[in-house]
């Protein structure tokens, strides 16, 4: 083949397949070569002058869905009124010293898969008790029993087709009720290199709960754990909210030196998505403070938590 300059030619107009292929691949190779040279040049310049690299990185921040998120009116930003209201909301008792006591139960006629998940969830929360769900009592009665025995929270794991698929979290005396869709459950055994959890009280990390609704949900999660973590256990439970999905993970951390941390994953990992938040305890006919409906999904960049 005669080596000609292939820059100005449009490979798509050539009818001869061999020629067309040849021209196209050569054009592609030339483009890649030019790009490589350009990048090499930039690297040389930046090795000499690191400031250039900083300015380049600063100017070329890629747009992601997370950083082009639609601004919500309900973002909480250092607002005194919101802070005052939060100080007197349903979780105020917890934040002034009440120890949490959690009751875990399932929907009716649960299968072993559900019980396995409940056993793992029990290990996450210190001070949690499991009660098998019976046929006799309806939810309203069960909530009354829990209140009488001074439980602070109740978690109902719902099951469908032999897999747990939802969690209803009821904060007792008369707190809000949140219903989460439960997905991507991985039990501890299936995590390679997992560690064994101990009974120490973990630290909590709540990431990215920005809006007022997010604050309520975040406070609900933090009210499930005792206020003072035991640092010698080096355990941490993370509730990471990203795009309205809450990722729940459990780790044991170790500081290798002042800058590096090693993490070993413990316990189950699962994902939650808030479906609705009801004011008051769980009531089929109670009023909803927030309910997710398909019509609310107006844009890819709109999130509620």
């Amino acid at each position: 083949m005669v080596k000609t300059d292939v820059q100005g030619i449009s490979a798509g107009d050539i009818k001869n397949k061999h020629k067309r292929e040849d021209i196209y691949h050569r054009q592609k190779a030339e483009k890649a070569k030019a790009k490589r040279e350009r990048r090499l040049q930039i690297k040389k310049e930046e090795d000499k002058n690191p400031e250039l690299k900083e300015t380049r990185l600063k100017n070329n921040v890629p747009k992601t869905i997370d950083n082009t998120r639609e601004k919500e009116d309900t973002f909480v930003e250092d607002d005194e009124e919101v802070a005052q209201e939060e100080a007197t909301d349903e979780f105020a008792q917890y934040f002034s010293g009440q120890t949490p006591k959690i009751l875990i139960t399932t929907s009716k006629r649960a299968t072993p898969a559900c019980y396995d998940f409940c056993a793992e969830v029990m290990s996450i929360f210190p001070n949690a008790q499991f009660v098998k769900r019976g046929e006799k009592h309806e939810m309203r009665k069960i909530i009354q029993f829990a209140k009488n025995r001074e439980f602070t929270d109740m978690m109902i794991v719902n099951e469908d087709n032999k897999t747990p698929n939802a969690i209803t979290l009821v904060h007792l005396p008369d707190g809000p009720t949140a219903y989460f869709k439960l997905t991507s459950i991985t039990p501890a055994d299936k995590i390679s290199g997992h560690g064994r959890p101990t009974a120490h009280q973990p630290e909590i990390i709540l990431n990215n709960f920005n809006t007022r609704l997010g604050h309520t949900v975040g406070r609900m999660f933090s009210a499930l754990f005792p206020q003072l973590p035991e640092f010698e256990g080096r355990q941490v439970v993370t509730f990471h909210n990203q795009r309205d999905f809450i990722f729940v993970r459990r780790h044991r951390y170790v500081f290798k030196d002042t800058e590096r941390v090693g993490l070993q994953e413990l316990g189950p990992k699962f994902t939650l998505k808030l479906k609705w938040l009801q004011k008051g305890t769980y009531d089929r006919n109670g009023e909803y403070e927030w309910i997710f409906k398909q019509e609310m999904e107006t844009s890819r960049r709109k999130f509620f938590l």
Partner: protein, 459 residues
């Protein structure tokens, strides 16, 4: 002073006392038409009517909200670069005006709000969770008068909440959910409300007719709709309904003598048994009067039924429809006498035609249950709008003219809202339109003032 009819043909102002003028949205004072300042001593400010909304919430705060007037579309100037335009627009974007009255306190949550006209002054009545009734000034939230309804929040379990509040002709009407109806004469400046009747427990709503304020309707859980005449209940008038003439076979004579039916104008009868021949349970969650003569009433039930009663025609409802499958919590009068707005426990807010019983509108955009809503007229274009306030902490305004029922405006109010009331007679000083002024200002300032107007014709 010259009458500048060509310049000011659109402005119509009326004498306003200084206490009614609210601070204009933009605080900058712009010098107007320096050329014309030769002729005018001052340029009179333009007043126009704008809606003001008062909301009450669970934390006891009362907020007044004024939405900015919609900004007119500016013609894009070719000379100015695009960035400058955006900056100007950002600076001039009119802000939502929110005034907060009160401090955060969950015990003083607002349950009901109403207007009162006392001595030609419009006052706002706020009924709170702990039984306090406050008369506030709508301008600055100062409490003019405070009273207590002793039947609210009674006992260790704090039973009793406000289910009705209204004020007309110097009489304050309040009702509590444990059945105590109070009709207080405000002339004597009382500290607590005077109870005129005790109608039993489990009431969920009590309303008086907007113009005939002695007619009261109540309903509750297993309490059928009953209409009373408060003049008779309070003893002001004697029972004027004639005694039944034929007393041989009817028990009406004995019924009339019963204490509980004293003052009753109408007692509804439950609908017929359902298709399984079972009694249909009764649980009225909200009711409204829908006509001037107090003959028609609409009730909404916990079993998602909407019923229309005609007092003069029949004891059973004239119309009985099922709407959705969630309990209907509140209803309100719609854009005309034939429509009512309803809201259930989820985020549905809709309108029903009570002649046909069909849903005619859905107001979308709510994410939580609507707790209070009403229709009012938007003065700017004389159209009806629906104002709603919900548990998701937003105040929303929907238009009703087009089929889209678009969300015109919403305001984030940070608290779970429980009550809304509209101030339609609110006047605001319009800030003079600045864009045109600034340009023309520069134009006029740059021009040199000539001594003679006529061009010198002579060479």
């Amino acid at each position: 002073m010259l009458k500048s009819s060509s310049l000011s043909s659109h402005c119509a102002w009326s004498p306003i006392s200084s206490s009614e003028i609210v601070q204009p949205v933009e605080k900058k004072r712009v010098t107007i038409f320096s050329f014309y300042s030769n002729f005018f001593a001052f340029w009179p400010p333009i007043h126009f009517q704008i809606m003001r909304y008062f909301t009450g919430d669970e934390s006891g705060l009362v907020k007044s909200i004024v939405f900015p007037a919609p900004v007119d579309e500016k013609r894009v100037k070719k000379q100015k670069p695009a960035e400058e335009n955006d900056e100007d627009k950002q600076k001039e974007a009119p802000k939502l005006q929110i005034n907060v009255f009160g401090t955060v306190s969950k015990d003083e949550g607002v349950e009901k709000m109403a207007w009162a006209v006392i001595d030609d002054q419009k006052q706002l009545i706020v009924a709170r969770k702990n039984g306090k009734i406050q008369f506030m000034s709508p301008e600055d939230g100062s409490i003019i008068k405070e009273m207590v309804d002793e039947n609210i929040c009674v006992g260790p379990k704090k039973e009793g909440s406000f289910i009705g509040l209204s004020f007309k002709d110097g009489m304050l009407f309040t009702a509590s959910s444990n059945g105590q109806i109070s009709w207080t004469d405000m002339k004597s400046d009382p500290k607590s409300t005077t109870v005129i009747a005790s109608l039993g427990k489990d009431l969920t709503c009590a309303r008086v007719h907007p113009s005939k304020s002695h007619i009261l309707a109540v309903g509750g859980k297993e309490r059928e709709l009953t209409v009373y005449d408060m003049n008779v209940l309070s003893g002001k008038e004697e029972d004027t309904t004639p005694a039944p003439t034929n007393t041989e076979n009817s028990t009406a004579k004995y019924k009339k003598q019963k204490e509980s039916s004293k003052g009753q104008l109408f007692q509804a009868k439950n609908v017929k048994n359902d298709y399984l021949d079972l009694r249909v349970p009764v649980w009225i969650t909200d009711l409204q009067f829908v006509d001037e003569e107090a003959n028609r009433l609409v009730t909404a039930t916990h079993y998602h039924q909407i019923r229309v009663y005609d007092i003069k025609t029949a004891r059973r409802p004239v119309l009985d429809v099922e709407v959705g499958n969630k309990p209907i919590k509140r209803i309100s009068v719609g854009i005309n006498d034939n429509q009512i707005l309803y809201a259930d426990t989820t985020n549905d807010l809709g309108a029903i035609d009570i002649k046909t019983g069909k849903i005619v509108a859905q107001y979308k955009g709510l994410t939580g249950a609507a707790t209070a809503f009403c229709t009012t007229t938007d003065n700017a274009n004389n159209s009806k709008i629906v104002v709603s306030v919900s548990l998701d902490r937003f105040l929303r305004i929907h238009e009703t003219t087009s089929i889209h029922r678009k969300l015109l405006n919403k305001a984030y109010l940070k608290q779970r809202l429980t009550a809304i009331i509209v101030d339609e007679d609110h006047y605001v000083e319009e800030p003079a339109k600045k864009d045109v002024d600034e340009e023309d200002d520069a134009l006029w300032n740059n021009m040199t003032v000539t001594s003679s107007k006529r061009k010198n014709r002579s060479s």
